[in-house]
Symmetry: C2
């Protein structure tokens, strides 16, 4: 079964198969690739030898000839990030469907992953999906401008001409503003982050809609952080230290909301009686009873699918005058962190 031999030293080549089958190496290659110009009889004989030996062609040799590694890279951000895990799962699925391999780089805290760009340059991967880009990444921008096959997923960079697949975040922020005001919230706060594009977009939609509904967000009702769990804890403590407490907090991602909810738990703030909390992304844990978080769904599966499709087209050399920018909408899911009784109980 295994082709690795007793010692990894004995790897077969297509020439060995040729000798064993009594045909030329070219013919073996044709059989392997399913090329039509092979007689049924020859094909059968070679196929038999292939099966017996368990031969597997060498990927580097193929890559060198074809100029394709059949591998793509994914850059995800680093900390305990359940969002990243779900992104990986979905991207992996679509990549595997195209019979490609997936290499992964964990970006540093600034969202940077120079090794991934290096791998692209040395042709170890055919393209990259970036899920952690921030503004001001000169290296990345230079490669993109030079036509490198890179897709941004869930992130945008101002003024950079790449294909982008992201959530409809402005709209998501708007939707939350409407929901909170329509349900009687009078003093809402935002826990955001300016370093990442989704954070900025959500904030924009949220602010605009609050304003248009006549309840503009006061300056002391916005707290910016690094979008970590700890930043959510910290934001809640800070808001609760003021003399007037907000009656709702909107966190621009679920992880931050968990931090806020856990801080509330420690401070004996009752959810949702004393305070409503809303998140963004709807990662799996948000459904769990510990958080039971009202949140805006970020449809990762379709985003992953579209990202892979766009990337493959770029790799195949499709030239588009203007980069494609797709936005994927998600619904607001109401759960126990805002409704007085859970509106969407876990029915698992």
């Amino acid at each position: 079964m295994s082709v690795l031999g007793t010692n990894s030293k004995t790897a077969l080549t297509s020439r060995d198969i040729a000798n064993l089958s009594g045909v030329s190496q070219s013919t073996v290659s044709r059989v392997l690739s399913g090329h039509p110009n092979v007689s049924a009889k020859t094909r059968k004989r070679v196929t038999e030898v292939l099966r017996e030996t368990g031969f597997v062609p060498n990927a580097s040799a193929r890559a060198m000839r074809t100029q394709r590694s059949r591998s793509i890279g994914l850059v995800v951000s680093t900390p305990v990030n359940l969002y990243a895990m779900e992104v990986m799962r979905e991207v992996h699925e679509h990549v595997a469907r195209h019979r490609l391999r997936l290499s992964v780089w964990l970006a540093d805290t600034d969202g940077n992953a120079p090794d991934a760009l290096q791998a692209l340059r040395e042709r170890s991967v055919d393209g990259l999906i970036y899920t952690s880009a921030v503004d001001q990444m000169p290296e990345l921008e230079a490669d993109i401008s030079a036509g490198a096959p890179i897709v941004l997923m869930g992130r945008t960079i101002r003024g950079i001409p790449t294909d982008t697949v992201a959530g409809a975040n402005v709209q998501g922020g708007r939707r939350v503003a409407e929901y909170l005001l329509e349900n009687g919230r009078r003093d809402v706060a935002l826990v955001g982050g300016r370093a990442f594009s989704p954070g900025r977009e959500i904030e924009q939609g949220f602010r605009q809609r609050l304003e248009s509904l006549g309840s503009p967000l006061a300056d002391n009702r916005i707290i910016y952080g690094d979008l970590s769990y700890g930043s959510g804890e910290h934001a809640l403590e800070q808001l609760w230290n003021g003399k007037k407490k907000p009656d709702a907090i909107f966190c621009v991602n679920d992880l931050v909301a968990y931090g806020a909810l856990d801080a509330a738990r420690k401070m004996k703030i009752r959810i949702p009686e004393d305070l409503w909390v809303v998140g963004y992304n709807n990662i799996t844990m948000s459904e769990w009873a510990a958080y039971d978080l009202t949140t805006v769904q970020l449809p990762i599966a379709p985003m992953a699918e579209i990202s892979v499709e766009l990337l493959l087209r770029r790799i195949d050399g499709e030239q588009t005058p203007t980069p494609k920018r797709r936005r994927v909408e998600g619904a607001l899911l109401v759960r126990g962190s805002t409704a007085h009784a859970p509106a969407a109980p876990s029915t698992k």
Copy 2:
């Protein structure tokens, strides 16, 4: 800066650099690899051209010549798995330290990842770290027996001669048994899983120690599941439906414990007053106030480091008569899910 040219069509080769520098292609190669046989003057001239052009050598060509892809593969299991994310982070770090790339495969629910083995056979990766192996994986076992460079991390397979790096699970199970009995628990239950080796080992240590302390585990005090969040919920409900309730539940991983804790939350069972819950692994979330879970630490960082080291040695052809089997110990961390007051409050 970018070497990708305007159109990805213009990738330079070392021959181009040779022409631009007025030396042979061999010399360019020597400069790139830092070979000593290059005069200072020549080296300087070539280095300058290299810098100006931003040349990056082609990885496939190098791999073909050197028979090394400089890439290793990691197989992790699929569902919402924070453990997997932490494993990835640590392995990625050590892999990057050795200037290697990391390819990732998400295994199916049975822990299988045929694509990873295929990548190894076609030499796309130099070796694999498996974190999701179960017994009965004929393909994997065949390749291992044939000498393929594969390390099992956090898993063992009976009778298979590979390097293995795992937690000291029998000991961990023992430790929990002692802790519970020494702290007055009289009726403890185990939520386990037989499909995975850590589950079996933890169970073994736990049972043995309970027995040696005079409180053997009754048959109706063991519930087996698939080690998912849902299996924890389900186990708790089942245990609580009996006429006599246990006063402590030991879950063989943290994710299962979260399920149990959330089921308890819904059923208004007070933790720890009515029930103690203990987990295993100590993933990041276990420290969060929502769960505040007493658990046995699984030291992923050292496990990842050792796994990478062992794998690289195997790849470098080190022949060991007997496979190396390392066990890494972790401490029991007492938190609020068992102590009446948290013994180790989050001091963040």
